[in-house]
Amino acid sequence: MPRMNAARKHPVEFTLNGRTVRAEVENRMLLSDLLRHEIGLTGTHVGCEHGVCGACTVQIDGRPARACLTLAQQVRGSDVRTVEALAPDPAVLSPLQAAFRRHHGLQCGFCTPGILMSLDALLRERPDADREDIREHLSGHLCRCTGYATIVEAALAAAEEQRKEETTNA
């Protein structure tokens, strides 16, 4: 059976924000460390490293997951999206990001990338997400600044905007 020795680095290939990346990593390297230290995408934050705070949340095959509890070798062949994928252009925010700015959904911004990745997935899967759904998804994220109310407002505004957009396009 394919056995990856502990002493060496091993290749891993996956899609990151739409592009194929290939890296050589030790088995014990976490996805969060690969993204930040090897690939240099520091938008994904690392807080508790216990799966609790949610700062490291990324999307793996479309689903929000904790990068701090995922081995880099476990995303082989997967589609990984980080907060860097949201803005269509460095000068333009995504509608969700813009709503965060308008509604003061962030202060220090430490929790924001993880929260955006959870909400982005939620609004894609459930365009009709209501306050309850949003609160449920936020329960897996800790924010020490905002008190969450402005985040909920931002998410509701983004959901509404997205629904309007869809009706206009229909």
Partner: protein, 325 residues
């Protein structure tokens, strides 16, 4: 985290053989990776079982069959689970957070390790982590600890929510090992700590959980999970209760009752069940039966509140189940 060899099995037999010779299975990693980085667990070989064919959920006659690699989120959202065994869906939704439920597997959930803080503090005595080193919780901070099934060697609660529901519902599990296959009640997976708290489960070396089977019955639909905790979501239970009732002509025919947060393993309440059969589903009957729940309770310094909270939680869970139309 210490270095380790990572193996990707070509077959189930491969995986079992590797585990029988000392490798550890990894599924979602939400328990194992966390403990490895804390050096509470230091396996030198991991075997990634995610490519094995044990995902998915199916219905066989009255039984619901859940693959060990099915994710908590997937199981909770499955229409057959919601229709046939809503208690399982509810207990899953009450656990962890959406992001973690996307990762966490059902097999891993049953084998998650305790949340006792001293278990994770390498400089504290903990018989579970380091046999013979003592138990820092007994004279330490123990408000979250167990009142049932404890020993002088360990007082940690089993943290799983869905395990409480599965034990209430008489679920069984199928495992495959070097000696072949066997099935047994989920309840028998969990050991009491006794004087060997480092031994938590009854799997033999190399055994892999393959699937969980939940028999259906008239009680399945009139079933609720109530989790009482320090905040409304994303927290482990102080006390939780899974209650399922079958009522005919205004009389309880069958009851299934199990509790979490209070026992060193998911705790079935057979005496309460027996006391309820034949009674009317009314508050007074619930209250009388619930008193039996705390038989044998041995509270510690900071968790005496659980002795009172336990019967109250049982009463409320029964009342909620009774209200299900």
């Amino acid at each position: 985290m210490f270095p380790f060899t990572l193996e990707k099995p070509r077959s189930t037999e491969d995986a079992i053989a590797a585990a029988a010779s000392g490798a550890r299975f990894i599924a979602g990693g939400t328990t194992l990776i966390d403990l490895m980085r804390e050096q509470v667990e230091c396996p030198d070989r991991l075997i990634d079982i995610n490519s094995l064919p044990f995902g998915g959920i199916r219905v066989e006659g009255e039984d619901l069959v859940i693959g060990a690699l099915a994710r908590m989120a997937e199981v909770a959202a499955d229409p057959n689970v919601q229709r046939l065994q809503p208690l399982i869906a509810e207990s899953l939704i009450e656990g962890a957070s959406p992001q973690l439920r996307n990762m966490a597997s059902m097999g891993g959930n049953l084998l998650q390790r305790v949340r006792c803080p001293y278990f994770r503090m390498l400089d504290a005595g903990c018989n579970k982590r380091t046999p013979g080193s003592g138990c820092a919780a007994i004279d330490g901070l123990n408000s979250g600890h167990a009142i049932l099934g404890t020993s002088d060697h360990c007082v940690a609660t089993h943290p799983s929510d869905v395990a409480v529901a599965l034990v209430a519902l008489d679920a069984t599990m199928r495992v495959k090992g070097p000696q072949g296959e066997r099935s047994f009640p989920v309840e028998e997976l969990f050991r009491l700590p006794g004087d060997t708290p480092h031994l938590e489960h009854t799997l033999l070396p190399g055994e892999l959980i393959v699937e969980i089977r939940v028999p259906g019955g008239p009680h399945s639909r009139r079933a609720r999970y109530l989790k009482v905790r320090d905040r409304a979501s994303y927290e482990f239970a102080l006390v939780s209760a899974a209650a399922a009732l079958s009522i005919e002509d205004g009389v309880i025919r069958e009851v299934r009752l199990a509790v979490g947060g209070v026992g060193t393993r998911p705790w079935r309440l057979r005496d309460c069940e027996a006391a309820l059969v034949g009674t009317r589903p009314e508050r007074r009957a619930f209250e009388e039966a619930a008193q039996l729940a705390r038989q044998g309770a041995r509270p510690l310094r900071h968790n005496q509140f659980k002795v009172e909270l336990l019967p109250r939680t049982v009463v409320r869970a029964l009342a909620l189940a009774g209200e299900v139309a």
